[in-house]
């Protein structure tokens, strides 16, 4: 791969915008919902849901024939619910612990999904690689819609709808989510029943995961869910700011990742995640709250006899 030649490539702006927007809207929704998953120490569950929705999506796809359909959401939702039920069934009715129950549940469902794709691959236009790798690139093949004089592939609209509505829902339910995540007993006393909140969160996760599938592929969805929140957690002390920074992370990693992908010729999904990982590393080093460099600097200041000021005021 001749890097010199790569930098000479003029990146088609249209593709940059399309792919960037697709990834951004997806990442936005995931970042908001995923931040709460991180706060609740439920990253593993997020990973499980992201794998478990595959059979639902595949079945829905086999029925409607296109990825651009709300039926995929329903399929995903049902699949996610099934996963949750299986986990409960295994964990509560036998001596198997929760982490193993989650593992058994999501690997079975994922295997089922991959098998379905494999069996039907010849009959329908669904490539197993698309599922694993994401298929933002295929956006080009879809019919266009026009907005404000500009052209966009139609799926972009659904990405936008999912991303924005997920963000709005999180904003509306913010207080409930905050209290339930911080202090479930207090939440219960306010009538925000933990079991219900959990279910809603699982539902939201399944909802945003469907778009994420198409953007970055099944295996990297977890990145879109937790990298923004994890990165923001290292940079801020209050939840509203964390949610905002997570959104910023979504934007930067999407744009940066798409640019990387188009210039270097690597898979878009992987590039977005790597960009996100880069941002995470920056936060790890320089984050105002938890950054390594910042902490070392603080310690040096304290060592010099100055009043140690908490970085969090």
């Amino acid at each position: 791969m001749d890097l010199l030649a790569a930098t000479d490539i003029i990146i088609p702006t249209k593709l940059l915008v399309w792919f960037g927007l697709a990834c951004f809207f997806t990442a936005l929704g995931c970042s908001q919902v995923g931040t709460f998953l991180v706060m609740r120490k439920m990253s593993l569950v997020g990973d499980a849901i992201s794998h478990s929705v595959l059979p639902g999506i595949v079945l829905a796809f086999l029925v409607v024939g296109t990825l651009d359909s709300p039926w995929l959401l329903i399929g995903a939702g049902l699949s996610g619910v099934l996963a949750t039920l299986l986990i409960e069934l295994i964990h509560y009715r036998s001596r198997i612990k929760q982490d193993a129950a989650i593992g058994i549940s999501f690997t079975s469902l994922f295997a089922l999904g991959v098998l379905l794709i494999g069996l039907k691959a010849g009959k329908v236009d669904l490539d197993p690689d698309c599922v694993i790798f994401g298929q933002v690139e295929y956006l080009q093949g879809y019919p266009r819609v026009e907005w404000w004089g500009l052209e966009f592939p139609r799926p972009l609209v659904s990405f936008a709808v999912v991303g924005v509505s997920a963000t709005v829902v999180v904003a509306v339910l913010y207080r409930i989510l905050l209290v339930s995540s911080f202090d479930p007993s207090l939440a219960a006393s306010y009538g925000y029943f933990p079991a219900v909140v959990q279910l809603v969160l699982m539902g939201l996760t399944s909802f945003v995961v469907v778009s994420a599938f198409q953007a970055v592929g099944a295996i990297l969805v977890i990145a879109l869910l937790i990298l923004p929140g994890a990165t923001a957690y290292l940079c801020a002390n209050r939840l509203p700011m964390i949610l905002l920074l997570a959104g910023v992370h979504a934007l930067l990693s999407s744009v940066g990742g798409v640019w990387l992908a188009l210039s270097l010729g690597i898979n878009t999904g992987a590039a977005v995640v790597l960009a996100g990982g880069g941002l995470f590393t920056l936060a790890w080093l320089f984050g105002p709250v938890d950054g390594v460099v910042v902490r070392l600097w603080m310690r040096r200041r304290a060592g010099e006899g100055r009043e140690p000021v908490s970085a969090c005021e």
Binding site: M1, V38, K41, M42, S43, L44, G46, D47, I90, R93, S94, R95, I96, K97, D99, A100, I102, G103, I104, F106, T107, S108, F110, A111, L112, V114, L115, G118, L119, A121, P128, I132, F133, A218, I219, L220, I222, A223, I226, L227, G229, A230, Y233, L234, L264, I266, N267, G269, A270, A271, V273, L274, G276, G277, F280, W284, V289, D290, V292, R295
Partner: protein
Amino acid sequence: MNMILGAGLSGLSGLTLALIASLALGLASGLLGTFVVLRRESLFGDMLSHAVFPGVVAGFFLSGWLAREGWVENAKNPLVILFCALVAGVLGAMVVTVLGNSTRLKQDARLGVVLSVFFAGGIALFGFGEPAGVQGVLYGQMAAIDATDLRLMLGAAAIVGVAVFLFRRPLLVVSFDEGYAHNLGYPVTWLTLMFSVLLTMAVVVAMQAVGVVLVSAMLITPAATAHLMTDRFPRMMVFSVLFTILASVGGTLLSGSISDFAAGPVIALCATALFVVAYVFAPRHGLAARFWRDRGQRQRIQRENVLKDIYRVLEREGFPAEGVTVGAFEAERRLDREGAERELKMLEHAGALIRRNGGERLVLSEEGWRQAARVVRNHRLWELYLTNEAEYQADHVHDDAEIVEHLLGEEAIQRLEAELGFPKTDPHGSPIPQPSAPPIHTTS
């Protein structure tokens, strides 16, 4: 040595290779899976499988390059690939630890971050060309295993097997109770590191068979199945290995007959199928076993409750020798004729009841009397205990006594009697029967 092994293997058919691979898979993944499940580190295993992926891809690249430069003969050199995989795996684990020491991020988020970023790295590497055989890492390639892959799998599995055998006791202690391991002077850090390395090897083996994502299926599901089947650790390991091999062989054969598609998912689903079977039918812990146990007990409790009521009627009427009328029985149990007949049949079947006068009068057999007296004694003693010692309210006593009286063993009864001072009557003034005394009312 390599060449001999290679020569031996290349002569075998694809199916035989797959079968041998299943053995390797069983040994490596099955053994380590036991530890993973017991340590509750399923997510850690998942992270390793994703973190190892870029290592394997890089290994393919490196191996190919070395082959072109003439350093090795094989473009898919197993040692090179394994080495790169190990490096990646250990690196991933190290990053997780570093993040843990330097940030407030919780374990689940740390694992998720490393898992996804490393995996993305692996996929990104594909942008530089896709070396032959790498697809197999994603989906597994049981159906298409060749001699080279097998050498890798067997080698790794052998190392894992030997290491687990040699260090089984320290590994077990460290997994179960790290504090105690320190106490015993075990080098806990080294053992944990060794465990990570062994786990990485098991992951590499599993990846060859079922692909990256489903590695967890091979690590966890068979081990969980084994956990349902036995309470003993050595047996759990054996079962785990066995189930892994079964799933692998079954899945390979099955997928071969269904389609050309990779065997990975079918193997994973076979492992799940085994789990479901164990979930339902495992002795002691399975659903069926528990159901039968509950049912047996429910039947016993019901039988004793009926006997208790018969006793009460007998007591009220002064223990008449002719026994009790069916009508009185129906009234006491609040049943209609049909329901009463069912219960009476049950008692007769158990040898506790005898019917006289054309079925109209009920008389307890000697065995029936003993059981009835015992359960009534238990009930009344327990009520007395609750009322006196535990300051129970009058309207509570009956509900709880109903269950406990059936479960009191002789030892507990003796303790109760002693603590209550060998009472003669219960809180309602009814006498407490002595089952050991000769029956007041018998057959004859």
